[in-house]
Symmetry: D2
Subunit: 451 residues, 4 copies
């Protein structure tokens, strides 16, 4: 790395106008550290400042010379009013810019005024690694997740000793909650280097020149991206990590249920989040070989069975009679499929309820806040989630996407480009999207994995 | 109307093959009554029989001579095996065909074996008007809704005196539940005659010859259809009926929140079903004039405010602090918007939770089964629902679509044709779809209504 | 089949209002023949009359007793004004209703006033089998196609002896063109009986009760439908018929080019219509193993090659240098792929130009009218088209869909439901749609066909 | 701006590993100039190098201190093989990186081997401002456009004096064509600063953190973006520039034809590119007040007129009889609509043919290469195009998008997010997308413009 120092004299006169003009009056200096060019953090800070008619002046820039080097940048931000400056600082803070270390103060906090209510001005989290300053030290916020508050953990002397995220609904009256953006810093994460899958996702997000570079296009060849994903799944399995699948009923409709079941049986999937629909269709296909009454076999007549929707309800009813999916496996009622493999292979699952559910199955958590908590507990468990694969479900994909830290490798697979775009909008460079139907995807993936 | 009698002799020989061939051995005769040509019931019965390699023989056909006349058709259905025949009868029964009146028996029932569990072979409802035969009389099933069971209401002598639908989750052990399809009949409903809106929907569903007749096309002029809908809304308001709006957050995103608020204020909307998102975005727009942090004004800078998502969470937190939306209106915190107008105009609302909710608002029913019950209670109340308008929400549109009887005039509005197609797939001739964004739709609708 | 006669007396009073009311003054009687219930023709005629506030009175109805029997219906149509009646007659005529045979007159004609200009009031065709009455005889219109004019072929005595369709642009001054709807009749076609594929398409088009019956849903299992299609392709090959493929570049993007090449090599595809894009991408993949510069291999790095779009242009340039695709095959430059197999297996192809073409390839017909004529010549050739498979192209699918008679079995495959809906809107009961990406579709199809 | 110089000594040891490791053997140094951070050029070069397992070492970095300052960066690129290095150089060259000025050589050229055939290794253009080095001087390539070749213009002494782009089909045998990437440089363009419209587009393309920042989302408020666009249109009109509209028939279907006509009448639109469909539907709506036979009035019955498609064909026939659209205006046949206003206000139009055209209108250029040339002539004319507005057409939007230089402000409006994504994939920071139906868009736009 090499030093960069501001030098007023420039070889051409192009900057004279900028230099000569009086600067906006309200200023503060911030710092950025890490892979700030490569991860586009620096460009984003510049965009932000320019979009708001504010100004930036780069005071120091030590640029990483190669891909192993982090960079450092010190920028003075100037705005027209104190409020505009404050707003700007809060915004760039969310991108990872922070005040000068020397000037930084401890995070401020205020007690939650009531159960389920946060104090005014509460700091709202991103999904990036975050630290808060407590007693002069920077402390990592545990189990970071976007759009939550930061609570301080108190030691025996009632002084803060740690920080963790808390959902609004779960906060207890009196818990100290971080307010404002001072003493809070976000750490930019490095862009992963994975040629096909993540390279394409990251490139897609840059609006680069390359024709058809978008990961959300249905027109891209998928083979290389899926091979890369298969490689990641192998790696996660080898190191004892967990691949989470979040799936919708399209997996069953497209006849790919047995493929997902095989992934579970072979240890490639270690955690399953879904709704009532995936589980009910899976069980219907196990009990009747139909999905919503439509035959899944190529050799059947294949016409929708007119009373087929009854299969769906009768399947749910049968599991309700058994008491639970595990009971139905135990009693020999359920002998194949995704849910069967989960039970047999001790793969935990969370089935979250929705208002369009039939039944639902007895395992479904009908309270949506309780379901969020159950999913969060798995994500935040010591084993964590090494790779998240979201397939064929808008509702659950976005719900789980919101729960995951930005650093979690996440792949969103859907036939509808809009769903993939929504997930990519979370902004994590670790999120990739594939526009392909769940059946075709799982066929290619299982072939690559040799299961 | 005129009589039609089978006559073996026909002027040409074309039917000889059909006539001469031996008929399939297992047969039963069914009857169809009503607007069975116009509503395509007769074609569907024929399709069904032919698709299953069974046979039909029309024994009597009294055809309605004009649009005021119902028709009557008696058909013998022949199948290869008793099971195939039984399956066929169940299927045509769901379309409204029923066994010969003279041969009909009372509905059979069995007690629910446990709370939340239906007996085997339970009859699964459609959303069409349905009757069950009790003690030789045909009795209307109350508050019909699709994919539920039919419970029998017992009189003081413990004999059945009525019938009503019951969701699987709500059934109590011992309640007598109708099983099988004998003694149950579905009544075909007449196709509504409303030239632009419903005419187009119904025509779309026929796969007719007319070019571009599909109601789910984004390429159709919408003005005439929306004018027709406005007329229906006026009519419903005049007769004291209720128009239900089921809405998603796109209403706010597209800047149409004030238009829906105006519809409520002017008495055109009398019931609102939504999720946390619509209400939270509406309240955010009232408190901050942003929607997920994006400015809603044309005169603002309009760039997404980077901390804008915080507005969303701060709005929810403010209402949580107030205790409820009504409290926030009462205290003067909330002074405009959709939810404000609901409170001010005594328009009841149900906010149903989902797993992707932030917060949620204190009024949200987080248990999905409880939310279903709350919506069902409104739909089944004496005032009922005269017109249902589903806008910009897949999840809630389908959930509510499932709750409504086929006879309820339902209009689904979405920018995504797939959502509209899903709703139309419910099969009711009273359901129409418009592919247009919520903002453009509400602008046209309010203009037509002069609000 | 049995006779149906109007009988004024009815057993209940429900029709009294209708019967008693005075009929609209302007009336004409029409006839319908064939599978008019099953094919929904009768329902559509009724819809049409009712939607326009006109009236119908069924005078005679001989109903087909089973699936082998045609039906006959005579209907009096009443309207308020002569113009309304005329409009109505023209509309029902397009559905296959025709004036009473006894009253029918010969078709009228007028000479085209100039090259490329049709006379006023020219009869506009549908894609249904059509006959015109010449000298008291009904004569089949040759090579029927929608939205064209009907020209009369003159004998040596300059009297009309036959009829054929002519596109507006191709008409010559003086050619006698049929005007008005008198002496023209459309023959309803029978709904095909093919359980999975066509059954589902036809059922989808009815708006029936069955849940999720829509063929344009991405949520349907496709295996049975594709098996049925494979069966049809086998049958067409066996009888020496031709399967036409109309394809877009997504076939190459999704890595399915070799599968389509195999279908051609194995005699399953006998005719190919496409644009410059499919051929250029196919040739790029043969020369460079990329598609628009994106690697098609799973084992490559897979990242988009930044100069990849150059492969596309260099491939086109190489073929231009060779003079034609056939030359490039002959010289050994092109040794695999779809276009290679076409040349090697004498499968004719038409490549139609579009304004977004790069290059284009020397084989591309850049004049769109000339390209239409080239495609039409193949469709109308004695061998005709037994089955049309439209994959992954909106522009070409709709263009070719317009050229095909309604009786041609047509399957539209696309990842975008909107394209499939547009094709189904043509209204032919012989058109089925599958929402699936081209790669997944061809993988399943070739597997079913064992190639 | 301040100087940045490589300094081997770094204050921490983090870079030791990177520094110590032996560098890949094959290296070349390139330079980047301009707004290379802000426009993401630098990040993209880094991505590219890292994605290919090559290495970069920043040798000098002079960073722009504020938004008026350009930056300068000199980077050594190291690769494993000469071929890998060459490939890398070609790729970064397309992004604007170029060899060291001192080492740069003149562009090489080779004669086109035949009419319509380019020499091997021809340089393939981007849509960015481009210069070629001729006789030691950098010369601007005229009328830059993507995916074409660069031809050299020869002076009287047969030495090159200039450079211009040439489409493959239009090249003449013997014309000197630039080959390879030496002596060719691409100049990065500055990101425009326009808060709502372009800010959002640019931000969307960065994959930033801000929730829902994507310009291709249907969930964004559009009012601010459309206000910004209106402002741009006003500015373009004031300075005598030209706004080009490229439109599809959805403009007419959604009832917005009169709004576009008003924009033309008021001088906001100075050039129109479309297909046969827009013009034919516009003329149909002027002659019959229907669009494909569907009534455009709110007060009509609105049901599709069954013979409505005939209106479409009769309209085209009427214009064919008149000889041209201008003749039809001159004769008083055509008295309103978009095409009428074009004729009346001397707004030139290009109607490009497609294979799905009915008719077509006599003004349609049926040869697609001729149509491309006609559009190109307008784009490259001295007046040029100040703003391009692409609405409701995939085919024409992409065709025209390919013709425009990257520096042309381009807005793509479509109800289908996939179309917008495709356009944005061109990669120009000057392209913005709005997902909204054409009707709603034009209503808001004309309101903002007060026409």
């Amino acid at each position: 790395m090499h030093e960069t120092r501001a030098q007023a004299s420039r070889r051409d006169g192009r900057t004279a106008a900028g230099e000569g003009a009086p600067r906006l009056p309200h200023a503060r200096t911030v710092e950025l550290r890490g892979h700030i060019i490569d991860s586009h953090i620096l460009s984003q800070v510049m965009d932000l400042v320019m979009d708001r008619n504010a100004e930036f002046y780069i005071e120091q820039f030590d640029v990483g010379r190669n891909k192993f080097d982090p960079s450092y940048c010190r920028i003075a931000i100037h705005a027209a009013t104190p409020d505009a400056l404050d707003e700007m600082l809060e915004a760039v803070n969310r991108l990872g810019a922070q005040g000068l270390e020397a000037e930084e103060t401890d995070a401020r906090s205020a007690p939650a005024p009531a159960d389920g209510v946060l104090p005014e001005g509460f700091h709202c989290t991103t999904n990036m690694p975050t630290e808060v300053r407590i007693g002069g030290d920077w402390v990592v916020v545990e189990a970071i997740e976007m759009d939550l508050a930061i609570a301080l953990r108190l030691g025996s002397d009632l002084k803060p000793v740690g920080a963790y995220v808390v959902p609004m609904a779960d906060v207890r009256a009196g818990t100290p909650i971080v307010i404002g953006h001072e003493g809070v810093r976000v750490l930019p994460i490095e862009r992963p280097r994975s040629p096909a899958l993540l390279g394409s996702a990251a490139r897609a997000s840059q609006g680069g020149f390359s024709f058809m570079s978008s990961a959300v296009s249905s027109e891209r060849p998928k083979a290389a991206a899926i091979a890369e994903l298969a490689e990641q799944m192998r790696r996660v399995r080898e190191v004892g990590g967990r691949t989470l699948v979040v799936g919708g009923p399209a997996i069953i409709h497209t006849g790919a249920g047995p493929l997902l079941a095989a992934l579970i049986r072979n240890g490639y999937v270690k955690l399953l989040f879904a709704g009532n629909a995936l589980a009910a269709h899976d069980i219907e296909s196990a009990l009747y070989n139909t999905s919503l009454g439509v035959s899944l076999s190529a050799d059947s007549e294949g016409a929708a069975l007119e009373h087929g929707h009854e299969h769906h309800l009768r399947s749910i009813n049968a599991i309700r009679a058994a008491g639970s999916i595990a009971n139905a496996v135990g009693s020999g009622l359920l002998t194949s499929g995704i849910m069967y493999e989960c039970v047999k292979n001790d793969v935990p699952f969370v089935l979250a309820g929705s208002i369009r559910d039939d039944g639902p199955l007895p395992d479904v958590i009908t309270d949506t806040m309780a379901a969020q908590r159950a999913m969060r507990a798995h994500v935040q468990s010591p084993q964590g989630v090494g790779l998240a694969l979201l397939m064929g479900t808008t509702l659950h994909a976005i719900a789980v996407g919101n729960l995951l830290p930005a650093a979690t490798l996440t792949v969103c697979v859907d036939i509808n480009p809009a769903v993939v775009t929504k997930l990519l909008d979370r902004g994590s460079l670790q999120t990739a999207g594939l526009v392909i139907d769940a059946g075709g995807f799982l066929r290619e993936l299982t072939q690559q994995l040799g299961v």
